[in-house]
Symmetry: none
Subunit: 414 residues, 2 copies
């Protein structure tokens, strides 16, 4: 028995006036996801708890069955691992943004005009050189750009603390923040001082860089500052194989989800064309999943762009991305052995197009496959799934339910 | 106000092809349980948690309102108590099986051909004599046969530990296992050594016993070995009377459930004809329950055979046993004072006929009686109850709900 779990990031939404009070998922044409709902059992998932908007990190840890209250140690390390940066216990990892600031350090754009990978990579080299020539007072330091404006900063060595605040003010028109210690320890004071010095040093390294001068000449914003945020350490989690006796693989493009899956002991399947953007090749992902199901008993497919469209409040774009996810599930339905494979579809959180942010409403889920207790729900959507036979469950319940369907659940008691 | 709770062991199941995608409970004729659903409030119970297949021990503790993560200390003691063996705190109790092994100690049958009670009792006497004549190096030891191949072993005294592995390999064609210590303590090492010596001694005591010679001459498998498993200690649980202010009784045939009920401070009502097998006299059980309701405010009725039919993957037999449970509820409905009595029906776990094992799907529940909030569900079954007014609750929630209906719940706060 095999299972494939499709997680469409932020796919769930709220009813929108411009969609005649339907959600993007309800308004989109989703014949295959509707078929999964029709032939399966449906329900609603509070990914963390009712009313709690989960970040994508917490959400994926929960959907993989972990107790996030127990294992969560910040996003930085998970994203760093997903970007190919090794993180050891006790390392501090930060998510960084290339940003644009004016001469008074006021943030003009938190993402430097969503700078292209190539430009970011050149600037990262300049920062690395600066750090090598004039190393800060810390055991070991690494800076690496990942996708677009995103980058990773890793600090290693003694006397460091994750109890420090971010330099990212999270909005434009205000100054870059100073990192501050969040407790009274000497380690936290020291770490925040290192971050503040680094901010200055990285700014000096890139502000007059040819790449930025060239960007300005092209009418683009310069990436003349690095915002530091989301400190994290390596979470101590048991791999899924150990917890559930499954052989798991993951297909995901964005570094954070890749990092979580890798930390959970899942094999990351590389898929050319899977980009984490609106242009991602969902059919390539589906094909890779069908192929992976020959060798792995559990395959997770993550699609990011549904979330982007919600954050950008573009309901028609979100509907289009949802229809791409539906095409992905069509390929799955048509190409897996339905007598031996469970297919589950859900979202990692609601992204409200109205709030343009993650929101606390539960997400719909549908599971089809051999011997599930098929319920009356005929369509996949936020409202139809409210009437489903799974009722209202928690994010961390999903994996045990799938593992039980696979016949791999261990009996409690005897 | 009174309440009677009918627990049909493993009654819940999954949709089966041979029953036209219905479960045995949905396919069976269950007019009385349907009436309870129709006149009552229904829902689904995750006996432990979503996706977790519960053993019968854990399941009954949960349905009696206990937090199994807190109180569970292994099955052995519960089964021993149900077999009439006294267990004190610190005693170790083991479930044992009379089994058939070949001359190389390979297990041929883990249940010695489901040996009859009389044969097992004779062999138990031989073992007791051997233990008296050549006592092992342990404070006190007791061996007692219970039903068919089942027996109980009790070890008492200082320097014993429950951290030891079973000798039961759980399958045939392989050797009887050596018990091993599960931690580094001297007590665990000593206890496992005692068990391994005992295994040899019990084998010697019965291998050439006249009962076994006579079995062989009848073409039956000899019960020439005793498998030791399921170590347990007395759980420290408060009696139901103390927890809920109710006066509880139980009607159950199988030792495990009897042991749990006794440990929970319930009066065990003996019922001739209640056997724990397919032939059990359910009407005798119902009559005993109606009688007991005169003296007790809460009566539990347990029926085992629904579970047996699921383990054996015999859906028609399971339907027949479910119809016997229905006949039991018919007698209850017709003979209790419905103005003053709540009747609840549920299962202790799903037994999937496909897996032939306990499974993690939730079980249906229906409660009828004065002033319950009657919902729209008209039939008792896995799918109909998904739409019930109770929604999806946990096993340990059931007793508080029933106790509240009885008007015995204590207010939290003031």
């Amino acid at each position: 028995m095999k299972a494939v779990l499709v997680i469409a990031d932020g796919m769930a939404d709220v009813p929108l006036k411009e969609l005649k009070r339907r959600t993007p998922l309800e308004a989109a044409q989703t014949l295959s996801m509707d078929r999964i709902a029709d032939l399966g059992i449906c329900g609603m998932i509070d990914v963390i708890a009712p009313g709690i908007p989960p970040g994508s990190d917490i959400a994926h840890l929960a959907l993989l069955g972990y107790d996030v209250m127990e294992v969560y140690t910040g996003r930085g390390a998970l994203e760093a691992i997903g970007s190919g940066v090794d993180i050891l216990p006790n390392d501090l990892a930060f998510r960084c943004n290339f940003a644009s600031v004016d001469k008074d350090f006021n943030v003009m754009d938190r993402r430097a005009g969503r700078i292209e990978n190539e430009d970011a990579a050149k600037l990262a080299v300049a920062i690395e050189e600066s750090l090598r020539d004039d190393p800060p007072d810390v055991g070991d330091i690494l800076f690496k750009s990942s996708v677009q404006h995103r980058a990773v900063l890793r600090l290693s060595g003694p006397n460091l603390s994750p109890m420090v605040s971010d330099t990212d003010p999270l909005k434009t028109g205000v100054k870059v923040l100073k990192s501050r210690p969040l407790d009274n320890s000497r380690e936290a004071k020291r770490t925040s001082e290192i971050l503040n010095k680094l901010t200055q040093q990285m700014h000096e390294a890139v502000k007059n860089h040819p790449t930025n001068e060239e960007r300005i000449s092209r009418g683009l914003l310069p990436a003349n500052n690095v915002l530091i945020r989301g400190v994290g350490q390596l979470p101590e989690i048991d791999p899924l194989t150990l917890l559930y006796g499954i052989h798991p693989a993951a297909i995901a493009a964005v570094p954070l989800v890749r990092g979580i899956c890798k930390t959970a002991g899942m094999r990351l399947i590389p898929v050319p064309g899977a980009t984490g953007t609106y242009e991602t090749d969902v059919i390539a992902k589906a094909k890779a999943a069908v192929e992976a199901l020959h060798s792995y008993s559990f395959v997770l497919i993550h699609v990011k762009a549904t979330d982007l469209a919600g954050h950008d409040n573009r309901p028609p774009k979100k509907m289009k991305m949802i229809e791409k996810v539906d095409a992905l599930t069509t390929h799955l339905i048509n190409n897996v052995d339905l007598d031996k494979t469970f297919i589950a579809v859900t979202a990692d959180h609601t992204t409200s197009s109205i709030k343009q942010a993650h929101s606390g409403e539960p997400v719909p889920v549908a599971i089809m496959g051999p011997h599930v207790r098929v319920d009356d729900v005929k369509e996949f959507g936020e409202r139809p799934c409210m009437k489903g036979g799974l009722g209202r469950i928690r994010g961390k319940d999903l994996m045990p339910i799938l593992v039980d369907l696979l016949g791999k659940a261990e009996k409690a008691g005897s």
